[in-house]
Symmetry: D2
Subunit: 406 residues, 4 copies
């Protein structure tokens, strides 16, 4: 019989790591003995388990250990990571290790070194001179890059759920429902935001145009002005309708204050784009007095950076929009590494795109009236995202109020 | 060629009556000449049209006129209504006239007499001695009842949409969208409510348990206490969870203030029912001090009547629940005739049931986070209902605030 | 320190029983030592664990053990069940044990005896003469009934998920998604149905009128005729529109074969009810030749029983409809104990109602195009229900075909 | 009093043109007399109306006529179109005419000339030498372009709904419901497709990855192979998962035939992209034997062009993906002018993007299980799109079968 001992540690009960470990072993046809199990007595304690895995063949044993390593299981006999050089730009060796969004280390040259700029569905490339490891999107692979292959020497540390901390995030976890008390949730998010800002952390907003359509644009503008927001990631539509609502009082041709349809209002967004085109950029439009309020105005005035990522449904687009999606991703990737919290509001495209880029350590909230947006986000691997199914038209005003209450 | 002249009057352009009239004639294979058309010049004006309808056969002409009469077309040669006696309890003669929810008159014994207690999908029965006409549900038909058959002598007057009045109701009409400014809508409903109360009118609430689950129960209780609500039509669930939240602080086992799951909380609603059973009724429970707050408490304290209609998904049910659905309908029917406005919140079953009973003159609003509730309501004939797709957890607090602003 | 040893057995890893046990102990402030853990090596093996629970006070220990007993934990020192007599009809003693839908035993008079007719949210009443225990809805409690109070002496056995059996049920479990291959699922349901029928088991259908609206009525009628279905639980609407479609070719006034709106079609369902009223019952209508096809016709012809439960949104209703919801529940309760599988199609009301009554051992599938129906069903305790989000108009034809393929 | 006579012609009753005309005049505060009205007697007849519009001021009259011209009203005194030269690249003169997606003519130099390559939300630029007019997206405007300003001399001809033709398109129009018979609809689409192909017309598919996830990829591949499809407009995801399913049997890591989750399956799509990167393009991968089946394979083999438009949520992307959204739009624009019918399946992003580019004459169908996709498409101006709410996993197999029945 082929055997090997693995160790698990962390909140392995809460995080279901122990359950999943046993499940994988049984599913793949292996067997196990729990040699030791030391479960944390207090909520904040860390648990440890030592499990002997056995299998009929060395191959089966390897295959089981491979999968366990993704869960964060430490294998007694640590192996060096395998590196294979790329033979062509944008091409990885077969069997390349595909990254998760969790904190990751590789065992290289006798040491555990961290994988920097972690992001899911990428490759891990090692700089052998510097002895550093980086995540790289496949499109950035260059011939000669030393790429991690297989699971040997890779250690993944999923975020540990602990029962005490992060109340908001914990209690909603995994479940999407519109039948829950919302006020308390919003208060929780507000206090989380304040705490992050107090520690000097950064908060990003990912937003769709429904923020403006529903009349909530002024609340987001105020949050930018008051310093709560450190970056906005959005598309042409949010910016265009924000500007439309400031130039014409409408969003998609509907009067924002009253909800009435305005004659010829459906042309307003094109007229808004045209005016910004004349100024040359949103910044210029603020400076030359064309644009005097709103979300984008406050970003310019308060030096809050934004990424306006282009999409094929854009009209115009505004001169500030980055039409190359690879360029947009690059910039979003940069901010994804910087933020501590991201609130995604009413945009499936930008939320999934940002979710793809975020390390799992970032606190992420997705707010949408459509439960399927939240479901899809988590189907696509962004399991850490907390979903709130509610009306955007009321979420932002209520969040704003919660941030201003004592 | 067989011809007949019809007259249309009212807001026939806005209400599409003219368009539908021409459509019906063409669809059925008839022809028409517009003899006169006098369209209101001002928004509040009434329009008139005189149209000559012709068809190849007398039967076809009759059939076309039949359909037009439902639209409210007056036919020059007015015919007496046809009455046939029922031969058996609960059985109508074949070809019976099936009522709509619009104001209806019949031409009987040389006069136009109103059909009382109008409601869709019922029969019209004439009391020949009193010379009065009533709507009757098929289940209440008695042998010998004189029932209207066919469309002769029946005149239906749909509510006329006019452009000026009833802003809230107008601008949303027919369209269901979560991408609209909500705040203004809510203000419109609040001012409509105030106006109705100022005129001595009555407002009903139709509500589901999500009102309590989402923490909005206290706002509805306050509206009852403050005299805004004249009747509540709901089921066992709303009352049970309202009482649960007052006795145990939970709704469906979830703490209303915090959203946390409480140990054994899923048994609380059964314990709430048990306590009311011990008192004997909700009224007794208020009087003996078992129940000290909440929606049902305020109903008792303020003499606001309620209908708790039983359904097969009820636990318990509470002693106040009417388990016979025919009895429930009878009581709901009574209140449906009394109210001037109904707000339906987060319940598909009770909303559709109430929608079935309401005359089309009652201002009706249906609020749900799920657009399909609103769509179904209007598919089932309650076309006058205005739908709002939003989060119940924020709708009631915002409505409450709007009612209390100057 | 107050200590007690508990034992867990079954598929405690897969079913998360072990995880939940540790969670409860930690959440409530207790501590534990895993004394023994013997995990099944093969997939079909049963696991055992012996855990010592300790707490600061005897009260805390009791409270922890209370909760663990619901998970199926056996406590070393077994206590007799506590019985308290009801002092009033429909009233249980405070602290009554509220039943789950899982298999349950009580320790009474020195023996474990099964609780019969298990159903969630009910009481357990002991017949001391017969030494038998029964579930009783609160409405049926009579003064003097001996009712189980507290958790002592109650043992619950949740269904154990095993990895091999019940493929269909396993792989979908818990997740609701429309982005999954459907064909294979339908094949799995078909083979499950065949297996149940081969063993002499019973299959129930819970259905809404969309079955008829979408043109799938003929497939359900065929399944009834071919002996696949043993009972139908539905409401007035399914039966009425089924009969409407057979008498007039329409459902809710829309031609079933073509989807076209038929003039005056919205009165057809009232005319259908009227004709059945004339016959006196659906059975009479079949016998006197009024009704010659469809779902209800096949039920009559093939002696398949049905429950048509009344609701407040019913028009008519048909003479076969049970308008008293308590009576309907009683009959549904009877069939809920008999069936081995239930397929719930396109009805939130009847699905939740049936879900409330079903023992967790019954294989249950809920099919709806609206994901919220499935979510609500499981929020309300029917966790064993497998949800399929798809179009009813294609589900039944595809299921029918799958049952007829080799 | 300022007066002017307008003429309307076409299916002005059915299309609500007459109703809208009167509504606009009244809403803006004008008055009107219907001078003549000649309504088509047969269904296929064209109606005419002559209406005198009057207003208090010349400005008001102009403003009313402006709006009426968009409805297709012909104004007796025809004015020349106003042209203003652009003073800067990407900048139009204030007051520029913003195009609709309907057939449009301008009155230039004494003649009505057609506006070519019609598309909504663009500008109209006149080539004065060639005496031709073109639609131009704002991003393509060059300094000196002669751009139409205001509504003078612009005539829009919306598609006229006639009652007889295009049954499928007519009967579903405007309404989104999952409670309708689907089979007949699918047959209607199939016969429409056959008719278009018989006339040498072109059919485009706009598709999302759910086509592959739900196991319907093979049906789309077969439609491509059999010559039904002339162009595919999609993104990286459809192509990647199609290739993943052909290389690994999975889609997003789930086995397509069985719906089971495959170990490490979530890395398969990255491995699929890596293999295509190695080949250099999808075409190369087909030629070098890497890719041997599926949708993309059939496109290559049968010379069916495709547009893979990049988005910020793309992994990879595949080498065939156009990452610049402006470039993607340009190519999609090209195909949008060529096709006679477009079927949009399970993608909100690509459906709205394509909807933006399509002339209203193209028959467009949008199929999604989520009703909000269809609603949004029509909120954004693509009113001609027919929506079907159903399960993709069954739609494509049923459409395939309908195309192969006699």
């Amino acid at each position: 019989m082929n055997k090997r001992t693995i160790e698990l540690s962390g909140h392995i009960i809460d995080s279901l790591t122990l359950t999943k470990t046993m499940g994988i072993i049984m599913d793949k046809g292996g067997e196990f003995d729990i040699l030791e199990i030391d479960v944390g007595r207090k909520k904040s304690d860390i648990s440890h388990a030592k499990i002997e895995v056995s299998a009929d063949s060395p191959e089966l044993l390897e295959s089981i250990l491979d999968e366990l390593s993704v869960l964060g299981a430490a294998i007694d006999e640590i192996k060096e990571v395998n590196l294979v050089a790329s033979v062509k730009d944008k091409v990885a060796p077969e069997g390349f290790y595909s990254s998760s969004n969790h904190s990751t280390h590789i065992f290289y040259d006798g040491d555990w070194i961290p994988v920097e700029e972690i992001e899911m569905d990428c490759l891990v490339v090692v700089d052998e001179d510097e002895k550093r490891a980086f995540v790289k999107p496949i499109a950035d692979v260059k011939v000669g890059d030393k790429i991690v292959v297989g699971l040997d020497g890779v250690k993944v540390t999923p975020p540990h759920r602990s029962r005490d901390e992060q109340q908001v995030f914990e209690f909603m976890n995994s479940e999407v429902s519109s039948e829950k008390p919302l006020m308390n949730l919003i208060k929780g998010i507000a206090s989380e935001m304040k705490e992050i800002k107090a520690k000097g952390g950064k908060i990003g907003i990912v937003g769709g145009p429904a923020i403006v359509h529903t009349g909530s644009g002024k609340y987001l503008a105020a949050l930018v002005k008051e310093g709560y927001i450190d970056v906005i990631m959005a598309g042409n539509a949010l910016a265009t309708h924000d500007i439309e609502s400031n130039l014409f009082g409408t969003s998609l041709g509907i009067e924002v204050e009253t909800g009435k349809i305005v004659a010829h209002g459906h042309t307003h967004h094109m007229r808004a784009i045209n005016r910004i085109n004349r100024s040359g950029s949103i910044k210029n439009a603020v400076e030359d007095g064309t644009l005097t309020g709103g979300i984008m105005y406050e970003c310019i005035k308060n030096d809050v950076p934004y990424v306006l990522a282009g999409s094929i449904r854009d009209d115009g687009p505004l001169p500030d929009v980055i039409t190359d999606t690879a360029e947009s991703q690059k910039l979003m990737r940069h901010y994804a590494q910087e933020v501590d919290m991201v609130i995604m509001i009413a945009t499936m495209l930008h939320s999934i795109a940002t979710g793809n880029l975020l390390p799992s350590r970032v606190k992420s909230i997705c707010v949408d009236i459509n439960p399927s947006t939240v479901t899809k986000l988590s189907d696509r691997g962004s399991a850490q995202v907390v979903g709130i199914v509610t009306d955007i038209g009321t979420f932002l005003p209520l969040l704003y109020n919660a941030l201003h209450e004592e």
